[in-house]
């Protein structure tokens, strides 16, 4: 069966584009969903020596195609791992500085890269209570972050209702001043493009467009004013090989529908 490279879902695009950002030899702390899928995809393509950590307490796992775990805390996350350890101890590797990249999904993000997965509305009486931080706050507090998420105006807001996982807080030096002296947001990957953060203001900046999208279209789907890089690049479409490996990993489209 040949795979049409023009025919892929937004989630597949997210997984492929995020996987390309990971480099062989890195130690990646991955959340469940697209991050786990993208990290596993990178292992199968250009980064066979990528070490994946899961907050359930795993160092160096290889997820088996078609057997994606429903969270990062099941035995499926331990396959061919180098080590299992307590969840507390694997999280402490972040604090000790052993992790190159933290890699998470996001429900709501703001212009300084803060993530909200706790609640929508008022803190005391939220209109929607969300599942919470898990290890998200620890990962975002302690290492360089890649976030993969769908690009929608309601998800890209000027200020999140609740800072669950810190990005650059109020921008400029506020993250460091709060006591977070390591890590910070590195890249946000969406189905429209790839974003970084301005060195000084720490505000989100469009760096790369995916094929077929324009900067105007990205701005129209964003709830705050985006900075745009002077030398805006355009990514290459997902290749047949990338999509083939990805679809073998998630044949039931658990995370890529």
């Amino acid at each position: 069966m040949t795979i049409s490279t023009a025919d892929y879902t937004a989630s597949e695009l997210l997984a492929v584009m995020s996987a390309r950002l990971l480099r062989d030899g890195q130690v990646v702390f991955a959340g469940v969903g697209i991050p786990l899928l993208a990290a596993t995809l990178a292992q199968g393509l250009h980064a066979p020596g990528l070490t994946i950590l899961f907050e359930g307490g795993v160092i160096g796992a290889f997820i088996e195609p078609g057997k994606l775990p429903p969270s990062t805390n099941e035995q499926r996350c331990t396959r061919r791992a180098n080590m299992v350890l307590s969840s507390t101890d694997v999280l402490l590797l972040l604090q000790r500085g052993y992790v190159d990249v933290g890699f998470m999904g996001g429900a709501q993000i703001d212009q300084c890269g803060n993530l909200n997965s706790s609640l929508i509305g008022d803190r005391e009486r939220p209109t929607t209570r969300l599942p919470g931080t898990g290890g998200g706050n620890d990962i975002a507090s302690l290492t360089q972050m890649i976030v993969a998420m769908k690009h929608e105006k309601r998800r890209f807001v000027s200020r999140v209702d609740f800072v669950t996982s810190p990005g650059f807080l109020c921008g400029e030096e506020s993250r460091r001043e709060a006591g977070l002296t390591a890590g910070g947001m590195y890249r946000v990957v969406t189905d429209l493009g790839i974003f970084g953060f301005d060195e000084h203001s720490k505000r989100m900046q469009l760096l790369v467009l995916h094929p077929g999208t324009t900067a105007d279209q990205v701005q129209a789907n964003t709830g705050f004013e985006l900075l745009v890089a002077a030398d805006l690049e355009i990514t290459d479409s997902p290749t047949e090989r990338e999509l083939t490996v990805l679809r073998r990993l998630d044949p039931d489209q658990l995370y890529t529908a």
Partner: protein, 317 residues
């Protein structure tokens, strides 16, 4: 509430820590957990959940337990919906990411009937660890600057007396009771855990009383043949209950994976009508069966065998 060191020591000293057999029934173990107790729950999300013990506490009509767990799945929904707990401390609370945001957690927290006290995952772990170490707090470097810590008056921001850096202090958590499910232990409570230990070792040593449920009780000789596999020592354990498939419909490493079809069905039932759906589930699976064996019968042999086949496949190459 952080206990004084004298209180922690005296509570330990009052316990019968001798080498003695502690095997009992689920009902007898449930009687060790009073209404209003603080309860640490072992495992994480869908793994090694002490489901049989939670099942027994819900059936016993226990009220107002303060529960703490690393990550909380559907057992938290059932604790809320049955009135067994109105306050759950955890880092993440929903059945599992593939099933979306918990409708029960939402219904209870948004109406103020239940409280979800949110700490970062590492903070929960360090609170149990401080409890296990017999110290009143541990320092850590996450949560600063976020709204998570802004909601937590118990967490303190300090300037490090050695370096001057900002640090967060999280208080020890010493639950009155820990509920932990293991693959095997002996009649004294020497427990061996395969696979992911989560926070269970710290939790066991932090708690003032430990109830173990176990897939099987093995001889003390078998434990002594592989003492490096023993993760919880007998002196920390107060009760041992043999409960095969004691985490079902969740998983127990190396023995069975989650019962996915059952969990999908549960999620669909909750989605259709959260309050009525969870009530009907409790009636059918928790209040209805006469015994744990009858509960397993209700889950169905086909599902259990399928979960067993997937679970044991971890040992295949």
């Amino acid at each position: 509430m952080t206990l004084s060191y004298a209180e922690i020591r005296s509570r330990t000293e009052e316990r019968d820590r001798s080498l003695r057999e502690k095997v009992m029934s689920l009902d007898e173990a449930a009687a060790l957990v009073p209404d209003g107790a603080s309860v640490g729950i072992g495992g994480s999300t869908l793994s090694r959940t002490p489901m049989a013990m939670i099942w027994a506490l819900i059936r016993a009509g226990r009220k107002d337990l303060f529960c703490a767990r690393s990550i909380t799945s559907c057992e938290g929904e059932l604790l809320f919906a049955s009135g067994t707990s109105r306050h759950i401390l955890t880092s993440w609370f929903s059945q599992g990411i593939v099933w979306g945001v918990s409708r029960i957690m939402r219904a209870y927290t948004e109406s103020g009937r239940g409280r979800f006290e949110e700490w970062s995952h590492m903070a929960v772990g360090l609170r149990f660890r401080a409890g296990a170490m017999g110290v009143p707090f541990l320092p850590m470097r996450s949560m600063m600057g976020s709204d998570v810590i802004a909601q937590l008056p118990e967490a303190r921001l300090i300037d490090c007396p050695f370096t001057g850096e900002k640090l967060v202090l999280v208080p020890a958590l010493n639950p009155e009771v820990a509920l932990i499910h293991v693959q095997r232990c002996d009649a004294y409570g020497n427990a061996q855990i395969d696979g992911l230990p989560f926070m269970d070792i710290d939790l066991a040593m932090a708690a003032n009383r430990v109830i173990l449920t176990t897939e099987r009780i093995v001889s003390n000789d078998q434990i002594r043949r592989a003492p490096d596999q023993t993760k919880i020592p007998f002196m920390a354990v107060d009760a041992v209950v043999e409960t095969p498939f004691g985490s079902a419909p969740h998983e127990c490493y190396g023995l069975y994976e989650p019962l996915f079809r059952h969990l999908d069905g549960y999620a669909a039932q909750i989605r259709r009508d959260p309050e009525e759906g969870v009530r009907a589930y409790l009636d059918r699976y928790f209040y209805g069966p006469k015994s744990w064996t009858e509960y397993l019968d209700g889950l169905g042999l086909e599902e259990l065998l399928d979960a067993r086949r997937r679970g044991t496949s971890i040992h295949d190459d």
